[in-house]
């Protein structure tokens, strides 16, 4: 199922594998060196194809991401965020739901469902990144969590991208996730 990167950009790779699928669930596996560029390309692809998105950030604070996306040319109103990394008490702003440093996967599920109920205009979900979950969780739990999330999104006919930064840790998780995702895009060096 894995495709070699070749001369294609991340955007082209996703397009090649996911364009014919109506609501694709894409597993984007990126090398640490190209992680940021890979995320940027992928979020642009999803935004342009589907419109408004829900960005679940487990890795970088909303404020940091928002700045980077604006700099990268992404319209600020295109995303709402679920932020479980910013060290702040739980609170809600217009574009971000801060969860504090939430570490329980069950709590994250509840927050996701609540956000999906409130944000009806959301047309896709972007999870950045699954590999972060491995810091605090065993790989079996992470794989099961991702499976549950993708099943929930499928039941709602929502496309999604799950980002995974390639590390020694979690190779087994990638293998399992590749089975329940529609496309497995592996990005090495960017064009």
């Amino acid at each position: 199922m894995e495709r070699s990167h070749g001369p294609l950009s991340v955007r082209e790779l996703i397009d090649k594998q996911a364009s014919s699928i109506e609501n694709p669930v894409v597993l984007l596996s990126v090398n640490p060196v190209v992680y940021q560029e890979g995320v940027m390309s992928a979020i642009k692809y999803f935004s342009e194809r589907f419109g408004m998105g829900l960005y679940i950030t487990l890795n970088k604070p909303y404020a940091v991401l928002q700045g980077a996306f604006e700099k990268g040319g992404l319209a600020p109103g295109n995303l709402v965020y679920l932020d479980s990394i910013t060290n702040t008490p739980e609170r809600r702003t217009e574009s971000c739901n801060y969860l504090g440093r939430m570490r329980e996967l069950t709590d994250l599920c509840i927050a996701l469902v609540k956000m999906m109920s409130e944000e009806k205009e959301v047309k896709f979900v972007f999870v950045d990144s699954v590999s972060t979950l491995l810091i605090y969780n065993d790989s079996k739990s992470v794989a099961r969590f991702c499976h549950s999330v993708t099943e929930k999104l499928r039941s709602m006919s929502l496309p999604a991208a799950l980002v995974f930064v390639e590390m020694e840790e979690g190779k087994d998780v990638v293998a399992q996730m590749a089975q329940f995702c529609d496309a497995y895009v592996k990005a090495g060096e960017l064009k």
């Binding site: 640490p32 060196v33 990394i85 440093r101 570490r103 996967l105 969780n137 079996k140």
Partner: protein, 294 residues
């Protein structure tokens, strides 16, 4: 009433601690293949930035003074032979040599899994703490900028590499008992000049909090404070990273540092979340989630 202890600001640390850190760092990046150099270059430039911002060397805006000062610092700490003869920084319009490469002399690298005798004989040597800080800051900052919180996965792997190095070198005695091994690690780091003392305890039933207490721990008053101020949640305390790799063999995972107290007399208290090896998202959790209505 808490016991007041005089703050000891360590100026030097054992070279083996520095070598172990660099070994762990390089080892942890082996899997990224050709991309390794990109990450090392980023770390190298962050290290230089640390030296400049702490006033250890002058700004590269004065390239000759910068190169001279950096060279002097490296030579003083025994890294002279690894500085490129034609230091490009002297000319001012090229990238400086990578500090990680300079600090990892070939004769101290693992050769086929074993250490050359020179490594052991250099065990008593010391290096300036500021160089150690520079490496810790540079690697943490570069990993945070590039990878965010998941940089902790690489930092934890650095801890495993450090442990392997120190065990192989004989600086830490092997033990199958994790508590004994952890104590050997603590003894090593205290003796090496990392901190004046370190104690730990677990809180909660079942345990969910790891409490660390240090006296005169320079990492926390310099690097840790700085990276926290810069918005990073990463923990790169070498003693912690090695400890984490030992506890990981028992299935424990370390979470966020949620309480930090760094007192003016050099006492440090750190509380971190710890998680046991049990599954944390069970089939029951998955079922409950699937039944939630949106």
């Amino acid at each position: 009433m808490s016991r007041r202890v005089p703050d000891v600001t360590y100026k030097k640390i054992d070279r083996t601690a520095m070598d172990a850190l660099l070994h762990g760092l390089l080892k942890s990046l082996e899997y990224v293949g050709e991309q390794r150099q990109v990450i090392l270059d980023r770390m190298g430039s962050m290290m230089l930035q640390y030296l400049v911002e702490t006033g250890t060397v002058p700004s590269p805006d004065s390239p000759r003074e910068f190169a001279r000062s950096l060279r002097r610092l490296l030579i003083k700490n025994g890294y002279g032979p690894r500085i490129p003869l034609q230091s490009k920084t002297v000319q001012g319009n090229h990238t400086p040599p990578n500090l990680v490469e300079i600090l990892t002399p070939m004769d101290r690298q693992l050769v086929g899994g074993a250490f050359p005798k020179s490594s052991v004989s250099r065990g008593k040597e010391k290096v300036d703490w500021v160089l150690y800080e520079m490496v810790l800051y540079g690697m943490t900052k570069a990993l945070d900028d590039q990878l965010g919180v998941q940089g902790q996965l690489i930092l934890d792997r650095i801890g495993t590499g450090m442990l392997d190095y120190l065990l192989e070198l004989g600086a830490i005695e092997r033990s199958d008992d994790p508590k004994i091994l952890v104590q050997s690690v603590i003894d090593y780091f205290v003796k090496a000049g990392y901190a004046k003392s370190f104690r730990y305890e677990l809180e909660g039933a079942p345990p969910d909090t790891f409490v660390s207490r240090y006296e005169s721990a320079r990492y926390y008053t310099t690097v840790f404070r700085r990276i926290r101020k810069e918005g990073s949640a990463l923990l790169s305390c070498p003693l912690c990273l090695v400890g984490h790799s030992i506890w990981a063999t028992q299935g424990w995972k370390f979470g966020d540092v949620f309480e930090v107290r760094i007192k003016s007399d050099g006492q440090v208290l750190i509380k971190s979340k710890v998680y046991p090896s049990t599954e944390r998202f069970t089939e029951k959790d998955a079922l409950r989630f699937s039944q939630m209505k949106v």
